[in-house]
């Protein structure tokens, strides 16, 4: 058999297998519980599904008795509050560090003589610090914090072993401080996304395991028979990440071309199988929660989840188009990149069906604005990424700023905005304090949204022109560099707005913490503070 027929039969057989697996899940051939969907309705709750965000949903029935659902929720929150609070505080710090480093790197690209006296401020190091502060600081701290908050709620139980998660979070952050320090000092493993020296990675592994352990223990103690879709995503992210991280950082296994292949297997999968599922799980939880309407299609959730799980692991090879890797591997990665359109569309249609007719809720809930924009950007960045993998497009966009714009559409437009929304929802529930200035949430939203729009549009155009110029033999290489200058300046403006929005966000959080804790008022209407929900 030649390579082509092996590749073709593997592709077709696995697709058929995936289709059958999803169908069997849907038909519950593989589970032995009863009607799962009934379990998650707590008594007294059926009928409340259509409440809009404007009306405070009732956790108390007509007789003033607290529902079991509310009591479960309160118990879950009480068990997670200190852990989630710690993770979010770290997330805020890394968000600010990453913004400062990113903005510095961005300005250096059009003002190369700025801040050149210190080696750690040179572009090669400060950009790496930016990437690692986002990749191992902001995104996992916000994402894991949100997961720690949501999972016990959805399992209707308390978090088991929260103190392990606290210890794990502390180890993780210590590792990140050490890692960023070594990058600033100039010590690096030399692979993108894997720059932090492997000796420090051991701390990440230990910390990550301690964070994951309570979530597994909690999963074992669940009081529901049917797992809501958010739990699938978060549970799998916690399984996938350690596998990726361990394999990629284990010293001395991969070398040469194999190391490059592994590098992008990790680099792409850490986006798609760690940040993405954490953020998607947040959208699946908060979007229906905020508009008070169930997710419309379990069937679409199945396609979205298993499609992601199956296709995503193979797409990293599209970073190596044109490289000295076996061409079957690159071809398969391109095909699977395009197949990713299916789970993305399934997710999009599902959210659209859920939101249909309830768009007015967007006006009153800034949290929902973040979540919805984040969901839209998931669709946009994923579809863009699929087409970017095609050889005809990749030949222009590879090695240009276009790729950088795409990466930020995903990790900022989608993941980061979604986590902003999650934090706005969660913080009042773990601190008992409402956001003091709801208007500031809108300021944050619009600064971030306009910032990423400027960032993305300018770099996309600049990157495309850059790629076209590099392919044109009649133009010198320097021309392809010089023509990007106005776009790089625009990127710094967009990035500046984004950084400013983060300062607003962090200041608001600090103000919430030092403010006076409001006394619990059972009848208080949150119309006075629409930002709270």
């Amino acid at each position: 058999m030649n390579t082509l027929s092996i590749l073709m039969s593997a592709f077709v057989l696995s697709l058929v297998g995936l289709g059958f697996f999803i169908w069997s899940q849907r038909s519950r051939l593989l589970s032995h519980d009863g009607d799962g969907s009934a379990v998650i309705f707590a008594t007294g709750e059926i009928g409340h599904a259509e409440t809009t965000a404007l009306q405070p949903a009732s956790g108390t029935d007509a007789d003033g008795i607290d529902s079991q659902e509310l009591l479960d929720r309160v118990a879950a929150d009480a068990s997670t509050a200190p852990v989630v609070f710690f993770f979010y505080c770290c997330a805020f710090v890394w968000l600010l560090v990453a913004s400062a480093a990113g903005l510095t790197a961005s300005i250096k690209l059009h003002a190369p003589d700025w801040l050149v006296s210190e080696a750690w401020l040179s572009f090669g190091r400060i950009r790496t610090i930016h990437l690692n502060a986002v990749a191992y600081g902001w995104a996992p701290m916000a994402g894991l914090g949100t997961a720690l908050f949501i999972i016990p709620r959805l399992l209707k139980t308390e978090l088991v072993g929260g103190r392990y998660a606290l210890l794990g979070g502390a180890l993780w952050n210590a590792a990140l401080v050490a890692g960023l320090g070594s990058l600033a000092y100039g010590v690096s493993d030399g692979l993108e996304w894997l720059e932090i020296p492997w000796q420090i990675d051991i701390l990440f592994v230990a910390g990550g395991a301690l964070v994951g352990l309570p979530l597994i223990l909690t999963l074992l103690r669940r009081k529901v028979a049917h797992l809501y879709v958010s739990v699938w995503y978060m549970g799998c992210a916690l399984f996938w990440f350690p596998v990726l991280f361990l394999v990629a950082n284990f010293p001395g296994i991969h070398r040469g071309v194999e190391a490059a292949t592994m590098n992008w297997w990790f680099g792409h999968n850490v986006l798609g199988l760690f940040y993405t599922p954490l953020a998607l799980a947040s959208i699946y939880y908060f979007l229906p929660k905020l508009i008070g309407r169930p997710i419309q299609s379990y069937n679409l959730s199945l396609i979205g989840f298993w499609g992601l799980a199956f296709f995503y692991g193979q797409v990293g090879g599209h970073h190596l188009i044109g490289g000295p890797v076996p061409s079957w591997l690159v071809t398969l990665s391109i095909v699977q990149s395009m197949m990713m359109i299916l789970p993305v569309v399934a997710f999009t249609v599902n959210q659209h069906l859920t939101l249909k007719g309830h768009l007015s809720a967007l006006r009153h809930s800034p949290t929902l604005q973040f979540i919805c924009l984040g969901g839209l950007m998931y669709t946009a960045s994923s579809v863009q990424g699929s087409f970017e993998a095609l050889r005809s497009v990749n030949v222009i966009t590879h090695f240009t700023h276009y790729t950088v714009a795409h990466a930020h559409l995903g990790l900022y437009g989608f993941v980061t905005l979604t986590f902003f929304g999650a934090i706005y929802f969660v913080v009042p529930r773990i601190t008992g304090r409402d956001w003091p200035w709801p208007r500031l949430i809108s300021v944050h939203f619009w600064l971030a949204a306009i910032g990423i729009a400027i960032y993305f549009i300018s770099l996309t155009i600049g990157g495309w022109l850059q790629g076209s110029a590099m392919l044109d033999e009649s133009r010198g290489f320097m021309e392809s560099v010089q023509l990007t200058l106005p776009y790089l300046k625009a990127r710094s403006i967009g990035g500046g707005l984004m950084a400013l929005s983060h300062v607003v966000f962090a200041a608001h959080f600090v103000r919430l913490l030092i403010g006076v804790r409001q006394v619990a008022q059972p009848n208080s209407t949150y119309l006075a503070a629409p930002g709270a929900l």
Binding site: Y228, S327, L342
Partner: protein, 198 residues
Amino acid sequence: MSKREILPQQRRENPDPEERRTPIPWLVLALAAVLAAFGVDYISHSDVNTPPAWGDGRSLAELVGDKPAAAGARIDGGAIFTSMCAACHQATGQGLPGVFPPLAGSEWVVGKPDTAIAILLHGINGAIEVKGKVYQGAMPAFGATLGDGEIAAVLTHIRSQWGNAAAAISAETVAATRARLAQRSEPYAGGEELAKLP
């Protein structure tokens, strides 16, 4: 279980979400079929029959391929020039005005073979006049990195390019000069010292 304080934020929120079982829209199924067809079509039109050894842990030496083993086998002087000389002297052999001297029409290149060989073996550190202009030369020494055959090949190359038409230099000549200058360890201090060479 002790009675816990219920926050107003917790009280006012909607119940946790659940899922309905709306069927998959037929458009999504159609999309799945289209994508699967695309995948089959794309794979069938791809050239995937590259050598299966690609992607393994081959070393740089293996990727470069077999070196010509026998003495006298042809060495590509042009390739050596591109990789080691062209960064300064430029692919056109014109150098950079005021910084790197030209090789095209240079009296040092087309002059005595021994002088040209000496420059490559030990380098220059000092002023040198080329085609009527003085350059502050800082030419690296290649005696340690290039073998006799390679120095001969690259010199033969530059002596025959860009209008230069001097005789080829053999590996034996280079070997002889190398032996004669073996005791020298530092670069030549410019054009004057080079001119005194026998």
